[in-house]
């Protein structure tokens, strides 16, 4: 009997969200197929790769990252260098220095950094907060205001602060806004619902549904992303038809496999190789589970994942 190919068709589509301005602007999402199922239909826009830098510089970074940014003294210089990285589609600036339990930099200082970085590059910019809900409610609002016209993606509005962050980034200052939940499908959906009820256009929302480093309960990440794409495409659930962005590096570079020095764990071999491996494996798994964009740090990871996307898409 001859093989009879039956494409899996959906009457629904993930929304395409544009980030950045000008020639280098990117679109993520737009597909009406499962991840990389290009044999079934249109992938829309290929998944995108972002390079993460931090207002804290290269604190704790491995040698390969340090040497890549050699000579850079400011975040703006690092951003330029990050934008040149092979495989980079956008730059992600983490304002982790704002954490009140860490460096506790002022909002003004961090907004100035964000402004410098945004002015230094023509690649689209994603700005990540410091993860402290209260500080981010103020910080991300000011960032959204200061970067008007740049069409940045602000990460992220959470259950506790979506009104402040969502209203500022998504409504008042016309940026794109991330909706962050931590591997919780019901909350992911709820956040999209309340953000749109707030008046934020669905085309302005990108989901960060969370990830774990591979080996750290990762199967929940897969089932979360699977269920979201299934609801969005197979059940035509419009509240979940937003693309997904996944900050991978911040997860994978903080687990022991990526932190333990070779001197402390000689049987594990090179720390840098381990760290790259964790970053690549997690990013690859996120992408095939449904992420439309990943945020990475190491040049080798960025190049490898960009190549993987190119060859699969």
């Amino acid at each position: 009997m001859p093989f009879n190919r039956k494409p899996q068709k959906f009457n629904a589509q993930i929304k395409a969200v544009e980030i950045g301005v000008g020639e280098k602007a990117i679109k993520i999402g737009g597909e009406n197929i499962l991840p990389f199922y290009t044999f079934d239909g249109d992938m829309g826009n290929t998944p995108k790769v972002g390079v993460e830098i931090s207002d804290m510089g290269l604190e704790g970074a491995v040698a390969g990252i340090v040497s890549y940014y050699e000579g850079c003294t400011t975040a703006a210089e690092m951003a330029k260098k990050a934008a040149e990285m092979e495989g980079a589609d956008f730059v992600a600036l983490s304002l982790e220095g704002g954490d009140p339990n860490g460096a506790n930099k002022s909002t003004e200082e961090l907004v100035a950094v964000a402004k410098e970085v945004a002015d230094a590059i023509d690649l689209p910019l994603v700005v990540e907060g410091c993860k402290n809900v209260e500080k981010d409610s103020e910080l991300l609002v000011k960032v959204a205001e200061a970067l008007q016209g740049k069409n940045v993606l602000v990460l992220a509005a959470k259950e506790e602060n979506y009104k402040a962050v969502g209203a500022a980034a998504g409504l008042a200052y016309n940026q794109k806004v991330g909706a962050e939940s931590a591997v919780d499908i019901n909350l992911a959906k709820q956040l999209n619902v309340v953000m749109t009820q707030l008046g934020v256009k669905p085309e302005s929302v990108v989901m960060n549904v969370g990830t774990a480093a591979v080996g750290y309960g990762y199967e929940y990440v897969v089932s979360t992303m699977d269920r979201i794409k299934a609801a969005a495409l197979a059940q035509s659930d419009t509240t979940l038809q937003m693309p997904i962005i996944t900050p991978v590096a911040s997860e994978t570079w903080s687990v022991k496999e990526s932190l333990a020095e070779e001197a402390d764990a000689p049987e594990w071999g090179s720390r840098e190789e381990r760290g790259i491996s964790m970053e690549i494996q997690t990013a690859a798994a996120d992408l095939v589970s449904g992420s439309n964009a990943v945020i990475l740090r190491h040049p080798q990871s960025v190049a490898t994942i960009a190549k993987m996307i190119k060859e699969l898409a």
């Binding site: 269920r227 609801a231 059940q235």
Partner: protein, 261 residues
């Protein structure tokens, strides 16, 4: 599984205001009811223009264009005894939100409605009835087979026939209610879609009882595999029940605001 499909029943000549609106081609009462139903969660709207023997074709075209033009190509069930009027409606129908539904065929005098749906790539509501009400499920399933075969012969997908067991009034036919529910299970076990005028079960009951009875019926019927119903979506209790059953069946993903969606 996909979401339960609510077909709003309120655009019907049985309502005096709508009857008059069709007679006078007055859009306002029709659009008002359409909006109320869509806001409440209807997906399809039933458009019952009555027998419409004289001007059915023109009237159905007018209604289809009016509703689809105003409400982003809302999918419609075209409901009339005038077959030509249904065909005329389909000729101007936009399918981007769903195929038109032909309402309805049965296994006796109205079996040609299946052919009509097949010829126009439409969905058809297939009432498992012959002449008079089926006496038991053997008879219902015989009609089901007849209708299914008729559709398949004409090249339809089995899923485009939505089988209607014919909901019966509880006051007077209380002993038949479980038969109806078992019939729905048989459709479901065959992988078939189903629908029907579910609120018929509460006909003649006091007004405050009907939403309760209809909600209980829809929950039990959804448990049996009912995939759609022709109902009044402005019955809040009924819609809350349907949305909750969709959650329990995993037809929609839960979120705290699910009742508002």
């Amino acid at each position: 599984m996909s979401k339960f499909i609510v077909i709003g029943e309120r655009i019907s000549v049985t309502a005096p205001s709508i009857n008059r609106a069709f007679a006078e081609k007055d859009p306002e009462p029709i659009l008002t009811r359409a909006k109320q139903q869509l806001d409440a969660g209807a997906y399809y709207l039933d458009v019952n223009i009555g027998p419409a023997e004289s001007n059915g074709e023109e009237l159905m075209k007018w209604a289809v264009e009016l509703l689809q033009g105003e409400f982003d190509n809302v999918p419609l069930a075209l409901d009339t005894a005038n077959m030509k009027a249904i065909e005329a409606g389909i000729s101007v129908y936009n399918r981007s939100k769903g195929k038109p539904i032909v309402n309805s065929a049965d296994a006796a005098g109205r079996i040609e409605y299946v052919d009509l749906a097949a010829a126009n790539d439409a969905i058809v509501i297939a009432l498992c009835n012959g002449e008079g009400i089926a006496k038991d499920n053997d008879e219902r399933m015989m009609y089901c087979q007849t209708l299914l075969e008729r559709g398949m012969e004409h090249g339809m997908e089995a899923t485009d026939l939505w089988f209607d067991p014919l909901f019966l009034v509880t006051k007077g036919m209380q002993d038949k209610q479980m038969d109806i529910l078992e019939c729905i299970k048989m459709f479901s076990d065959m992988g078939l879609n189903s629908t029907g005028g579910l609120s018929n079960n509460s006909n003649g009951m006091p007004k405050h009882i009907r939403p309760i009875m209809d909600s209980a019926m829809v929950a039990m019927a959804m448990m049996q595999g009912l995939t759609s119903a022709i109902v009044n979506p402005n019955d809040l209790r009924l819609m809350e029940t349907i949305k909750s059953c969709d959650i329990i069946k995993n037809n929609t993903l839960y979120a705290d605001s699910y009742l508002e969606l």
